[in-house]
């Protein structure tokens, strides 16, 4: 069977979650392997959640937030940026590869961008193959 990547997306309530909704309203399609977890702000995404996602079968994780300067909570997205940067380093060190974690700014009006990012990231993960953690935990 063809490898269908499992992608976890953390969406902030104000921009990215609304962007994901807009992708739906506009019927921009993306692969069904994508799962969205809603948080109020991208700044809420604890690196532990990201590791949890990989431990539980994710092949890739995206943290999405409002564009810099547009954060509903002033600067939570910038905190997310720092954390994702650090977590990427940790993933590289652990052998999962930094490219399995990504940060994207998606506004409430960027439904098409949301769908495109999901498509493109899924393709990228297909190239990388399944998460090496999976065989360990099975």
């Amino acid at each position: 069977m063809e490898f269908e990547p499992k992608i976890v997306v953390f969406c902030c309530n104000w921009c990215s979650y609304a962007g994901a909704d807009l992708a739906g309203v506009s019927r921009y399609q993306y692969p069904p392997g994508v799962r969205i977890v809603r948080v109020m702000c991208s700044g809420r995404v604890d690196p532990v959640f990201i590791f949890d996602a990989f431990e539980n079968g994710a092949d890739g994780v995206i943290v999405t937030g409002c564009h810099p300067g547009d954060c509903h909570y002033v600067s939570g997205n910038l905190k997310a940026e720092q954390r994702v940067g650090n977590t990427r380093k940790a993933l590289e060190y652990l052998g999962l590869g930094a490219e399995r974690l990504r940060l994207e700014w998606i506004s409430a009006s960027e439904g098409m961008k949301f769908a495109e990012v999901m498509q493109e990231f899924t393709e990228k993960i297909k190239e990388l193959g399944p998460s090496p953690l999976k065989s360990r935990f099975k």
Binding site: R35, D46, V74, S109
Partner: protein
């Protein structure tokens, strides 16, 4: 299904949303699967869960099964979570014990061609929701008082309407206008479609009414520069630009303007004619006071000019004025700063900015205006001759992939058409050509207006001109493919008028960032819901009105002004509102490291060094949860998004795929 007392008793309600979900996802299969999950004691599938009967079904299940958690798998929480929260509360269940699962916008609509994949995903999403629901905790919303004052940003026709409605209801309104006079764009129009009544004749009295309203405090030549606080309790900082005029002494006689030796292009006339550095904005200005634009004043060049001081017999000129700031408290904010028309100079569309005789329809409007620079005589800029053949080109800077793909909602179709009609009615012997892609004439009297335009002899040519070529005598040749005749035509005219589209104001970015209102794809501010929340924003207590949230004609802008006022009044009349219970909370495991203090964007967390733990001021906390993600020991939590609650979702992500 487990039925033990004291445990989580979860009900799962799957919505078909007509065929929106049911047409793709096998909802019955999802419900059957949900019934197998731990803690789920009942499931139900409804055609429309949000309908009366759907909500009654939830309440019925809550009572019959003594549910203590509800999972609704339906559309998006962005629109429907409030509905189901109320539904749960009514049945005696704390609203925060509701978990909302989105299986429409992010599932059935997303995977239309993959019913199997969508159904599997829906099951996953429901499972994530059920596991999260098990860990949800009841929360109380705090109630805050709503300050009865209002700040209205922008005093165009929409902002004026909002201010008047609220002022009439007895609320104190700070009407903040950037320009020296209120009135906005409408004050510049000659006549307004589709009735062609004189714009300033209907707006002028309204402006005076605003000034007379004892509850409205006009802050002209002022700008909102900072907004702090939250619904009911905003603190707004306003910058007052120095007018260099004593407002109490000046009576708007314009003696200073007559004596001012400086000549600058008159902005109110779209750059036609000149005004002094000291000037009265326009004859009907409110407040009717002079203003000195120091940037263009000789004094800014170090010259000792006293022309205005000498001219003023009321001693109203005061060069010692400085920029000052004031802070006001308000319960609600109405944002109505308007928009602008596309500037064709940036791309020299059809030679605008290069050819003298290519002007915008806003400039043409001023030429037509009896109070304009030519007292209503239309002349062309190159030789001041009266043009006998005119070409009106629609959709310049709109419906164009190179500049702005958005349509101006029929406003500029009607606007350009109106100007052609006004001219043609005044001088029937003049030839008018109007080039269009589609004519949008959607509201009452608009289609009749379009018919009238054709009947009086305006020639409509369907096609977007490819170029305009200037001839030696200043005449212009419009090259266009007439798509109805199927031929390329070269039409010589004396003057070209560009119907420019409606685009965001240059300040929109500042406003959007200051208030945290997201912008839509067209760059204008985004309303809370395009259909059902057209004047609300995602921010409690902040409303939008007029063309700042999309192109609008005058009746639409006025309706929105009133709409925003009535939405705002809901809060002001009641005098109190509820604040969501999603805030930060720390427990005794706090080690007092203070990392959360540094990341809090609101300064809501302080470190109590004596106790060696942090304290949270809940009234300031907005509930972003950044502190919770920072805490190295898990002592800081975000209510409703606790670590274990989010982790429960993450740990149950994938089972079927």
């Amino acid at each position: 299904m487990g039925e033990k007392e004291g445990e989580e008793r979860i009900g799962v309600f799957v919505c078909r949303c007509g065929v929106n979900i049911g047409g793709v996802v096998d909802c019955d299969d999802v419900a059957r699967y949900a019934a197998t999950l731990p803690g789920v004691v009942c499931t139900s599938v409804n055609k429309f869960t949000c309908s009366d009967s759907g909500q009654a079904d939830i309440q019925e299940h809550i009572r019959r099964y003594n549910l203590n958690r509800v999972v609704v798998a339906a559309c998006t929480p962005k629109t429907h979570e409030p509905t189901f929260r109320v539904c749960c509360e009514e049945a005696g269940l704390n609203q925060y014990l509701l978990e909302f699962v989105n299986i429409r916008d992010q599932c059935s609509w997303m995977h239309i061609w993959d019913a199997e994949g969508a159904t599997k995903k829906a099951k996953d999403l429901v499972r994530m929701g059920v596991y999260r629901a098990k860990l949800l905790e009841p929360l109380e919303e705090s109630e805050v008082a709503v300050n009865p004052n209002v700040v209205v940003i922008g005093a165009g026709v929409a902002g004026m309407q909002a201010a008047m409605d609220l002022g009439d209801m007895g609320f104190h309104v700070y009407l903040v206008e950037k320009e020296p006079s209120i009135g906005g764009r409408m004050a510049r129009f000659d006549k307004v479609f589709p009735t062609n009544d004189c714009s300033i004749c209907i707006l002028g009295p309204k402006m005076v009414e605003v000034a007379r309203n004892e509850n409205i405090e006009i802050m002209s030549y002022s700008e909102v520069v900072e907004v702090a606080g939250f619904v009911g309790n905003f603190e707004v900082t306003i910058e007052h630009k120095p007018r260099y005029i004593d407002m109490d002494k000046c009576n708007g006689c314009a003696q200073c303007a007559e004596k001012c030796p400086v000549e600058v292009p008159y902005d109110f006339n779209e750059g036609f004619g000149t005004r002094g550095a000291a000037y009265v904005p326009f004859p009907q200005a409110v407040p009717l006071r002079a203003v000195i634009d120091l940037e263009n004043c000789l004094r800014s060049e170090g010259k000792e000019c006293k022309a205005c001081i000498k001219a003023c017999d009321r001693d109203a000129i005061d060069f010692s004025q400085m920029k000052r700031y004031s802070k006001v408290k308000a319960g609600v904010i109405i944002v109505a700063p308007g928009s602008v028309t596309y500037d064709p100079e940036q791309r020299n569309d059809y030679g605008y900015g290069i050819y003298d005789n290519v002007i915008t329809t806003m400039e043409f409007e001023r030429l037509l205006n009896a109070a304009g620079p030519t007292e209503g005589h239309v002349i062309r800029p190159s030789d001041c001759k009266e043009p006998m053949r005119l070409g009106f080109i629609n959709c310049v800077g709109s419906r164009d992939v190179k500049t702005n793909v958005h349509c101006s909602g029929g406003v500029c179709c009607m606007f350009n058409m109106k100007n052609a009609i006004l001219l043609k009615e005044k001088r029937p012997e003049i030839s008018c050509y109007l080039f269009y892609m589609d004519i949008r004439a959607p509201f009452r009297g608009y289609e009749e207006f379009y018919t009238r335009a054709r009947e009086i002899g305006i020639r409509f040519i369907r096609g977007l001109p490819s170029e305009v070529i200037e001839l030696e005598n200043g005449n212009l040749v419009i090259r266009v493919e007439d798509t109805l005749k199927g031929e390329v035509r070269n039409i010589e005219v004396d003057l070209v008028v560009l119907g420019t589209g409606i685009v965001p104001h240059k300040d929109i970015e500042k406003i959007s960032k200051m208030l945290k209102i997201p912008r839509a794809a067209d760059g204008l501010l985004m309303e809370a819901h395009p259909k059902l929340g057209p004047v609300d924003t995602v921010l409690g207590g902040v409303f939008v009105a007029g063309s700042v949230s999309g192109p609008k004609d005058i009746p639409f802008a006025v309706a929105q002004g009133s709409g925003a006022a009535s939405r705002a009044a809901r809060l002001l009349v009641v005098g109190k509102t509820k604040i969501e219970g999603i805030t930060a909370a720390s427990d005794e495991s706090c080690i007092g490291c203070g990392l959360c203090v540094d990341v809090c964007p609101y300064g809501a967390i302080t470190l109590d060094e004596k106790e060696n733990r942090v304290m949270i001021v809940e009234a300031i906390c907005k509930g972003c949860g950044t502190c919770a993600a920072t805490c190295p020991v898990g002592a800081m939590e975000q209510r409703h998004f606790k670590n274990k609650q989010v982790e429960a979702q993450v740990k149950n992500l994938f089972a079927f795929t």
